[in-house]
């Protein structure tokens, strides 16, 4: 039985309008709908596919967050995770989050740890590798495919201008990116009922440092508007790109 830990984050829904408050020092969470991080959802989906294809697995999902993340965690159980854990802490900087996950995972004998490429709210892209470093296990990021063969992990990764298939013994950490799974799994009614009954284990936070602090936020400058060029004047477009925008 392979023991798998899937780390999931909760992020603002992709169509959310990003606004800030208190002199642009805080993210304005009013009217924000939260969802499971899209890459984390694909990572979980792919692990479930591997289990369904015949690799016996015991899958634990873990999230670092306050009580408001429990719906997201339940969704992970509803699609098929066996155990659910919430580490009771505010997910601030990546090192802090990775330290919480490491404190939880240490000594539990997870064979495989899987995360999504990045949490799409802060785009840190760091937690998976930091966790692997804290647990002192090897890893691969940017994985576009994973399988388990003979107890080993077989991963495809995208390199600049190419692809590699890598085979690794466990324990191992994989951060999945696009292609890992195509569509996230939708929970079935039975899963939803099951998830309601599954307890979410709440683990207290451990003391850890914040290496990086956000001082303030900025929105990108508004575009000054689109300059339309008539469709039969493509030469004019080329001229504008060359002389005005200076990008040709």
């Amino acid at each position: 039985m392979m023991k798998v830990l899937v780390c999931i984050s909760q992020v603002p829904d992709t169509t959310s309008k990003v606004r800030f408050k208190e002199g642009n020092t805080q993210f304005d969470t009013a009217d924000i709908q939260y969802v499971m991080g899209p890459y984390d959802e694909l990572a979980l989906t792919r692990i479930l596919e591997v289990r369904d294809a015949g690799t016996p697995m015991e899958i634990t999902v873990v999230n670092v967050g306050d009580a408001s993340t429990e719906n997201t965690i339940r969704k992970a159980v509803a699609v098929g995770a066996n155990h659910a854990v919430r580490i009771d802490a505010k997910p601030t900087d990546a090192f802090y989050v990775a330290s919480q996950l490491a404190a939880f995972a240490k000594g539990q004998g997870f064979d495989l740890i899987v995360t999504g490429k990045e949490a799409s709210d802060y785009n840190g892209n760091q937690v998976g590798e930091m966790l692997a470093e804290l647990l002192d296990i090897p890893s691969i990021s940017n994985a576009s495919h994973i399988e388990v063969k003979g107890g080993k992990v077989v991963v495809e990764r995208e390199m600049g201008g190419g692809k590699e298939t890598v085979i690794a013994p466990t324990p191992f950490m994989v951060a999945g990116q696009k292609g890992f799974a195509i569509e996230p799994r939708i929970p079935a009614m039975r899963g939803i009922m099951q998830a309601r009954k599954t307890p979410i284990k709440v683990v207290p936070a451990v003391p850890a440092e914040h290496l990086l602090t956000v001082e303030s936020y900025e929105l990108p400058p508004a575009k000054s508007g689109c300059k339309f060029v008539p469709k039969d004047q493509v030469d004019e477009l080329v001229r504008l790109l060359h002389e005005e925008a200076k990008v040709l």
């Binding site: 785009n123 892209n125 090897p138 691969i140 990021s141 440092e209 339309f228 469709k231 039969d232 493509v234």
Partner: protein
């Protein structure tokens, strides 16, 4: 004290993004008044190494051990950490790509150094390190401050540009870091390179097309346009196009694909959904071509043509051909 930059190469040749990140690191070294040291892993000739001096590297360290031929995140992080410690680096700089993203978080843990990824600008202050980075999938920026004496930055390709600033007296020292044998169990079974293609995240110009093109058979004009625009240009696409298998997955840009920031982005037959825009809003200049004058892409674009791509693109290609031949 020094600034240390990871100088990545492909098969012994440095990439343009490497020269960019060296230029950027030089700027920081000048701000801090310290030397710039480049770290290189793998087989790179002395002549190639010397190119790093052109962009301001004062010296370089090179680890050519055969066990480093395969990219293993932990092994590379081990080697680069030892180099950075050897030169007492207080700022470490990477290019924000698949290698940097794997290595930098591990070094952050090893060195207890704050890590800012997706950096888009020169630091506002070097000590404490305060710098602007992209956040919320490109919908916003944040100004972050390191709470540690050592900091690590990874720079978004094309955010700074390549700047020549020759340094005198450049020399390369060979360095043999201590590696762990246990990592060798992680092995590459097969490798496949897509010949001649540049990763979309590094391109200076992108020609991107969407479902408006209707069939994979219609990409000839898109590829032609990309070729006309030169070696810094490549093609990419919207998500449905790669999901349908019309184009390979590595071309998919947007929130769930590659996040790109080229100097020029052509969006042809792409509606401009918020998830697509999230991945391209860092582009300096956007040109949208769409039959629908109400397409949301026009709100994000700098230049627009309302028209049928099958009419406009061939004409545009002809105009580009004329323009390029005169350059």
């Amino acid at each position: 004290m020094s600034v240390f930059v990871f100088a990545e190469h492909k098969g012994g040749s440095f990439k343009k993004s490497t020269f960019e990140v060296v230029s950027y690191a030089k700027k920081i070294a000048d701000m801090a008044g310290v030397e710039l040291v480049a770290g290189v892993i793998g087989k790179v000739s002395d002549a190639e190494m010397a190119q790093l001096a052109q962009y301001g590297a004062n010296r370089a360290m090179r680890d050519q051990q055969p066990d480093l031929e395969t990219f293993r995140t932990r092994t590379y992080a081990d080697a680069l950490t030892q180099m950075a410690e050897n030169v007492a680096a207080n700022v470490i700089v990477f290019s924000d790509n698949f290698m940097g993203r794997g290595i930098a978080p591990r070094m952050s843990v090893k060195l207890k150094a704050a890590l800012a990824t997706s950096v888009v600008d020169v630091p506002k202050s070097v000590s404490p390190m305060t710098v602007k980075r992209k956040s919320f999938s490109g919908k916003a920026f944040s100004i972050v401050k390191a709470n540690t004496p050592v900091s690590i930055l990874s720079l978004v390709p094309n955010a700074f540009g390549v700047v020549e600033k020759p340094a005198a007296g450049f020399a390369t020292t060979d360095f043999a870091s201590k590696l762990r044998a246990s990592d060798l169990a992680v092995q590459v079974e097969a490798a496949e390179t897509v010949a001649g293609t540049m990763p979309v995240s590094e391109a200076e110009i992108l020609v991107s097309a969407g479902r408006g093109l209707k069939s994979p058979d219609n990409w000839g004009m898109i590829e032609e346009m990309s070729q006309l625009l030169g070696p810094g240009c490549t093609t990419c696409c919207s998500r449905p196009v790669s999901d349908l298998g019309w184009r390979p997955h590595h071309e998919h840009v947007g929130q769930t694909g590659h996040v790109v920031a080229p100097n020029l982005y052509f969006a042809i037959g792409i509606s401009g959904a918020i998830q697509h825009l999230a991945g391209v809003s860092g582009s300096k200049v956007i040109v949208a071509i769409n039959t629908d004058p109400e397409a949301p892409f026009f709100k994000a674009a700098d230049y627009g043509i309302v028209g049928d791509a099958f009419e406009v693109v061939p004409k545009l290609n002809k105009a580009l051909k004329d323009f390029m031949s005169k350059q």
